[in-house]
């Protein structure tokens, strides 16, 4: 038994993405409409009535399909609301793709939205069921949970804390630098290494510049059967592989687990690479959008996704391998770090960058001849998480 995958069975023919940020004047509905308008506007042969079904991803900005059907007035079409922590947007996309691949629908839309800045609090809010009050997930914030990677990584790989700090700072510097060339990013100014290093601490050694932006935003994608994609656009994006792993949380209880890897990511990547026929991700991919929720996460992901040898991620980061002009650009759009992280929208935002890059629409950050991209989206925390990996490409059969 293995996931068979839907390599080259579906294509993305339109996408939209709002500017991410503190959108004080925009509601959840406004954000959905903004992303939808861009998407539909760029796909002249499809209008709202042609869309057969919708998948809506949001962590907490609405419940049920009604959140979308009301916003768009969708004429009694099926709308499925999905939630899978920070991988929610990817999950909406994955299930929408399966709706088309199964032959159930001809045209579907995946929408992701999050309105985080209405709560008045810092960071993400949780809505947990009533509990006994003992779970560390209830008390410990996300930056604290991911900051656990830092001392553990240093201890395991013999990395001096100053070297690790420099690598973490490089991740933040790089993603802010990339984001400065992205008009839709929440933070559009380069940030100096000194500013990053001296920022007020949030958890462990993580300062505010080691954390992703808390923002509002929405993104969406139109998906059709691959053989019909060219009816709608000259430059479709084909789905090569989709995988999702929900961990058993064994790692959180297992003394063998050392907090220097996400086993769920390793497995999701292996599955997606198998579906897409990727043997050597470091050379076969043109770019990757990864879940840089906190700077040490991106370092560990370089290893878990197979871009670096185990224990070398920090060194490869510092060596510029993953910079915009490096051997494998990571988060050329600025990532969660500077594009911002409206939870339900982030997975689709990652795909949006691949979409723009393949079409040559990435402006100042356009890469040279990109043909294959990976997106990676993580939800939860080290020890117990969900991990999504997709591989998408510009051409059929490549």
């Amino acid at each position: 038994m293995a996931s068979r995958g839907i390599n080259d069975r579906v294509g993305v023919v339109g996408m939209g993405c709002t500017r991410f940020g503190e959108r004080w004047d925009s509601s959840t509905e406004d954000l959905i409409l903004e992303a939808f308008a861009e998407c539909i506007g760029s796909t002249p042969n499809i209008d709202k009535g042609d869309i057969d079904a919708y998948w809506l991803g949001t962590l907490g900005s609405g419940q049920s399909g009604l959140t979308l059907s009301r916003a768009l007035s969708t004429d009694d079409k099926p709308v499925t609301r999905v939630e899978n922590y920070c991988a929610t947007g990817s999950e909406a996309f994955r299930n929408a793709c399966y709706g088309v691949a199964a032959g159930a629908y001809d045209v579907v839309m995946a929408v992701g939205v999050e309105k985080l800045k209405d709560s008045g609090f810092s960071g993400l809010m949780r809505t947990d069921p009533p509990s006994d009050g003992t779970s560390p997930e209830l008390s410990m914030t996300a930056p604290a949970a991911f900051s656990l990677l830092d001392p553990a990584y240093c201890a395991k790989h013999g990395v001096h804390p100053d070297e690790m700090r420099a690598a973490m700072t490089h991740v933040a510097w790089k993603n802010h630098d990339n984001g400065s060339r992205n008009p839709k990013a929440q933070f559009r100014s380069p940030v100096s290494r000194e500013t990053i290093n001296e920022a007020v601490k949030v958890a462990g050694r993580l300062g505010v510049f080691d954390c992703s932006g808390v923002s509002d935003g929405a993104a969406c994608a139109l998906i059709v059967p691959a053989e019909r994609a060219l009816e709608y656009t000259d430059t479709p994006m084909y789905v090569k592989g989709l995988s999702l792993v929900a961990g058993s949380s064994r790692a959180s209880m297992d003394p063998e687990f050392d907090f220097t890897t996400f086993p769920e990511v390793v497995k999701a990547a292996r599955d997606a690479y198998g579906q897409a026929g990727i043997d050597n991700p470091g050379t076969q991919l043109s770019l990757a959008e990864v879940h840089d929720c906190f700077t040490p996460t991106e370092i560990v992901l370089m290893e878990d996704l197979g871009f670096s040898e185990t224990g070398h991620g920090w060194k490869d980061v510092l060596g510029g391998n993953f910079d915009a002009d490096g051997r494998l650009p990571i988060n050329p759009d600025g990532g969660l770090k500077s594009f911002g992280h409206p939870v339900g929208a982030s997975g689709l935002r990652m795909l949006y960058e691949a979409w723009l890059q393949f079409r040559g629409d990435a402006g100042d950050r356009q890469l040279s001849d990109p043909h294959t991209a990976l997106t990676h989206n993580l939800g939860g925390r080290p020890g117990a998480c969900v991990s999504f990996v997709s591989v998408v490409g510009r051409e059929l059969g490549r």
Binding site: S119, G120, F121, S122, G123, M125, D128, P130, S131, D132, G133, T134, S135, P136, L138, S139, M140, T141, P143, A144, A145, S147, L148, L149, P151, A152, A155, K201, V202, A203, G204, S248, S249, R250, S252, M253, D254, P255, F257, D258, F259, G383
Partner: protein
Amino acid sequence: MTASLIAYATYLPRYRLAGGDVGLRRGDRVVASYDEDSTTMAVAAAARALEGHPLPASVYFATSSPAYADKTNATGIHAALGLPYASFATDLCGTGRSGFAAWRAAAATGGLALTADVRVGRPGSADERLGGDGAAALLFGDGPAIADVLATTSHTSEFLDRWRSPRSITGEQWEERFGADRYAALIRTAVDRTLDETGLAEVDHVVVACSNSAIVKRVGTLVKALKSTRTSPVGFSGVADAGITLASVLDVADPDETILVVSAFDGCDTLLLRTTAQLPLARQSTAVSLQRAEGMVVPHLTYLSWHGLVEFEPPRRPEPDRPAAPPAARAEEWKFGFAGTRCRQCGFVHLPPVRVCRSCGTVDEMDAAPVATLHGTIVTHTVDYLAYSPSPPMIQAVLDVDGGGRCTIEVTDAEPERLRVGARVAFTFRRLFTAGGVHNYFWKSHLLDTGSENDGKPRDQ
């Protein structure tokens, strides 16, 4: 009274107010941390006293600072100690007299008498300066006695010396000299009667507990003893005062010595004990004097915030939800008893308990794996400046428990800079936060070298 004293222990919290902050010319003031209350301190003292002894069938818990009204606090202690379902646990809420009542009950039926108090005074008050927080546990039963009960006496008198509204955390006092006069007479009468009834001319040690500080000052002239006359080395600790002071004598007394405990609260009760040859073999593992010596200074303002006497700006995070009753009841063995499960098929330890083994997938083949008394090692750690905490920042660590098991849990009583991978920890029952009037009790870890809890050193036997 029928049962003998077979074990004793005290728990003194680790935090101290600097003497200069509260008007003490020398020394400091012992204070409970924000995550401690009379219930948690009683659990700590009880766990030490019960080490190596059969579990008691009765628990009598006395305090003037109960965490709950309209709910028995002793049941939380009972659960945290993992005592059998078919046993008795009750509160006696009031003054030091309630503490004496706990002793009398435990001595009559056998059982565990727990006394604990958090004594809060208004900033600048004598209660703030001269009080002390802590807990004492006396275990009575049929085992090898460390002291036998020779006699008790009681006198009761209604007069106004100390009082406190049930709604207030700080108390009041009449002109001290009035109460001192009354207590002096009561104490003389009680001591004379005890000596008369037992035919003793003098006792070896006298312990005096009294809420009137003028009595405490002149205790040496008030009651004579051959070897020592003592008041609390901690400061006045309310209901726990007599127990902590008695423990400080039991820490050093020789076999076959008499100890007269004088407990003067709205009257005067006495308890006369004679130590046995077992005492030197069964003293508590860490003497009161050592527990008193160790400490970490807490800034005065921070301390005041713990008791709501000043209010700090909260973090921009939502307050946590109150723990829900049904899930808390279902998880009693985990939440209160800190017991996980071990798979019978593969031995994998689950903290918290689960039904399907995370390692081999076997369903419902689990044995209890209690970890409360075990030690652990820090795997990785962090300081969470953003998390909601009654006293930020929150420290969290991932721990490997000796003998198997991994969990992520708060670290308490620690300066963040002392955390390191590989550091050794033990566990302590604490109150994580209070929401909707519900105290969220659970276990935390503390660094072992802080001495704030049982440090794992063997008892001298």
